[in-house]
């Protein structure tokens, strides 16, 4: 039964390994569960098998599905739960006398029978709302959502007042996969782009060299210094602004502020929809103060890494035709200008705040993706990490 559950977790692409499964079995063997209830089993199996809160939701779904599908009749439960659970359970439910009489005969069959009878009695009391099958968690069958007719666990509209179990509530649903981009997360991701080099004044002790030269110096200290390591990576950021980008402002802001603190050599520019012969640095003065795209190529070395941020949502002619721009007459097509940049700068990516699933519905996204030689990534944590891998190659 448990192996089957384990396999289902695997199918749901939760990274579980046999080692963790064995840990779970070991924990059960060592009687970590004081009440042997399904609630506790849920908590324990999650504790052992799931190693990230991003998988909690998936786990909850598998758990609910797996244990909901099973109709619990007492016979079956009793057969399926390990004997030691049963004993603990019996201690909870049966009176001392009854226990003693069972222990004297050592008859498991009889124990089951008694339990079944007791549980049926219990059910009636439960309807009256007594503490037998309650939420205090003392009764395992309460947690199982037991009913002689075979009640399924986790029916949302159940009349058991708390029948919606933790795993049905799926409280961790917003933690699943679509990780929200906070600046800290972004910073951590951008950090992978670091490229360290020693430059400037020698202020750090170079221990190996000091030892070497001290030895040469007949054992008298000869201190050697080296310059500190600095992050030498250089980045050019281009943001698409206005129009269809408005819903994505907040995520772009986050990326921007994270990049700003992370990179010392960071230059940023804005464009509208696509790159043409010029870009600008301040949006309020975009008409007057333009920065020619050609100057980008002349000013910045090819070791600068290019990051475009835009939804790539536009009419195809804005990319491929001269005069296609919405705002002015461009003599050369946007594709030409982008190609010029790509020819000069060896590393570049396009980050798209629109979810990857929607890209294939938009022609312009496809076109730009082709121009970028598929180096377009969604603006999520995972996409950012992928893009940085490309940038640091």
């Amino acid at each position: 039964m448990l192996i089957d559950f384990f396999m289902r977790l695997k199918v749901a692409s939760i990274p579980v390994t046999p080692r963790e499964f064995l840990t779970l079995l070991e924990a059960m063997q060592k009687r970590v569960l004081p009440y042997a209830s399904l609630d506790e089993y849920y908590a324990l199996s999650r504790l052992c098998l799931v190693k990230s809160e991003t998988h909690y939701d998936k786990f909850d779904r598998v758990f609910a599905e797996y244990f909901r599908g099973t109709v619990f009749d007492p016979e079956k439960i009793i057969k399926e739960i390990p004997e030691q659970w049963l004993r603990q359970l019996a201690e909870k439910i049966l009176t001392e006398e009854e226990m003693r009489s069972i222990e004297a005969t050592g008859d498991l069959e009889k124990l089951m029978e008694m339990l079944k009878k007791r549980l049926e009695e219990q059910q009636e009391r439960h309807q009256g709302g007594s503490k037998w099958v309650g939420t205090a968690g003392t009764s395992p069958f309460g947690a199982f959502g037991y009913n002689p007719e075979g009640v399924r666990i986790g029916q949302n509209e159940s009349r058991h007042q708390r029948a919606v179990k933790v795993w049905d509530k799926r409280e961790f649903k917003d933690l699943d996969d679509s990780v929200e981009l906070g600046t800290r997360n972004i910073k951590m991701a951008l950090r992978r782009l670091r490229h360290f080099a020693r430059e400037g004044a020698a202020e750090e002790l170079d221990l190996p060299d000091t030892i070497r030269s001290t030895a040469k110096n007949a054992g008298y200290l000869d201190l050697r210094m080296v310059p500190k390591r600095h992050n030498k990576v250089k980045v050019l950021l281009f943001f698409d602004v206005g129009g269809s980008m408005d819903p994505h402002i907040s995520v772009c802001e986050k990326l921007f502020s994270a990049a700003r603190t992370e990179f010392k050599h960071l230059e940023f520019f804005y464009f509208h929809n696509f790159i043409y012969e010029s870009v600008w640095r301040t949006n309020s003065r975009r008409r007057e103060q333009r920065f020619p795209t050609l100057d980008l190529i002349h000013t910045f070395g090819s070791d600068y890494k290019l990051i475009f941020v835009g939804d790539a949502n536009m009419a195809p002619y804005e990319i491929e035709s001269s005069g296609g721009s919405l705002e002015h007459h461009n003599r050369e097509s946007g594709a030409t200008w982008l190609q010029r940049l790509l020819d000069h700068f060896t590393h570049s990516v396009w980050l798209n705040p629109v979810p990857e699933d929607y890209w294939r519905y938009t022609t312009s996204v496809q076109m730009i993706r082709q121009l970028m030689e598929t180096r377009m990534f969604p603006l999520t944590m995972e996409g950012l990490i992928r893009s940085i891998r490309v940038l640091s190659k």
Partner: protein, 280 residues
């Protein structure tokens, strides 16, 4: 011996189970959760609740795994050699014990807190695999193996700044501390301020959970912020009516600085409140 929370630390059922499973099976327990939900406190309270010594190893971005085991102070030895000190002949004089070593040496089973493991380099957890698994390590300088006398109860906290390596995760139990619900929060507050007036608590909780519901906050106020805020409220003797009034009038609650620590969040609160006034 099992952990059931303490008078000042309210643990949920599943957290207790996590701690006890970690104790019984001798595995490290990895704790994550929103900031301010008592991750670090847990180790302190486990130590207190079970009457054990606590060793705390706080991780920084520059911390190396080796520092938890021991460090060889080569510079001191070099200096002593130049000065002709006798200590120089025994290398053991220059071995400085780390937190892990101290915990391993402890006479009784200790609690070891490895705080904010994600602050360190990405490779840091990998360098501790063997040590956490077998609870032993080898000191090359003195050629001795240090074995834990009693397997310490190891509690590791993480703030999710970096992903931890799979091999490391496989060896740990993992528990995510959820943000406490209304009921648990009341218990927590009660544990800290048993004399708090019921009316004030009720109003304060309304305000607190109201603020947490504002979407788009950069930093949602958490348990520790609520406790700080309540502390100020009681010290300044703010009557519950003032809180109620601030809620009714859609104004900032008194001493909101304890709850919202970000200028933008304060503005956001203002905007939201004004919107709701206009009846959006």
């Amino acid at each position: 011996m099992s952990f059931t929370g303490t008078d000042s630390y309210i643990a949920t059922e599943d957290l207790m189970l996590a701690v006890n499973a970690a104790i019984v099976l001798g595995r490290p327990l990895l704790i994550k959760g929103e900031p301010g939900t008592g991750k670090t406190m847990l180790a302190e309270e486990v130590a207190r609740g079970l009457g054990k010594t606590l060793f705390q190893w706080h991780i920084k971005s520059t911390t190396k795994a080796q520092q938890g085991l021991y460090e060889y102070d080569a510079v001191s030895r070099l200096r002593d050699s130049q000065l002709g000190d006798d200590r120089v002949h025994d290398i053991a004089n220059y071995i400085i014990k780390g937190k892990l070593w101290e915990a391993f040496e402890s006479e009784e089973q200790p609690v070891l807190l490895i705080d904010e493991v994600d602050k360190a380099d990405i490779e840091f957890p990998n360098d501790l695999l063997q040590e956490l698994d077998r609870m032993e390590f080898y000191v090359y300088e003195t050629r001795q193996t240090i074995v834990a006398r009693n397997r310490p109860i190891i509690i590791i906290t993480s703030n999710n700044e970096k992903e931890l390596p799979d091999a490391f995760l496989r060896r740990c139990f993992f528990h995510y501390i959820r943000f406490p619900d209304h009921e648990t929060m009341q218990k927590i507050v009660h544990a800290h301020y048993p004399d708090l007036k019921k009316k004030l608590l009720k109003e304060a909780m309304e305000v607190f959970f109201g603020i947490r519901e504002i979407s788009g906050l950069k930093k949602k106020p958490s348990t520790s912020e609520l406790l700080d805020w309540l502390h100020i409220l009681t010290r300044e003797d703010v009557p519950p009516e003032t809180l109620k009034k601030s809620r009714d009038d859609k104004k900032m609650p008194p001493f909101h600085g304890a709850l919202l620590k970000n200028e933008q969040d304060v503005q956001l609160f203002d905007i939201q409140v004004r919107r709701s006034l206009r009846g959006y």
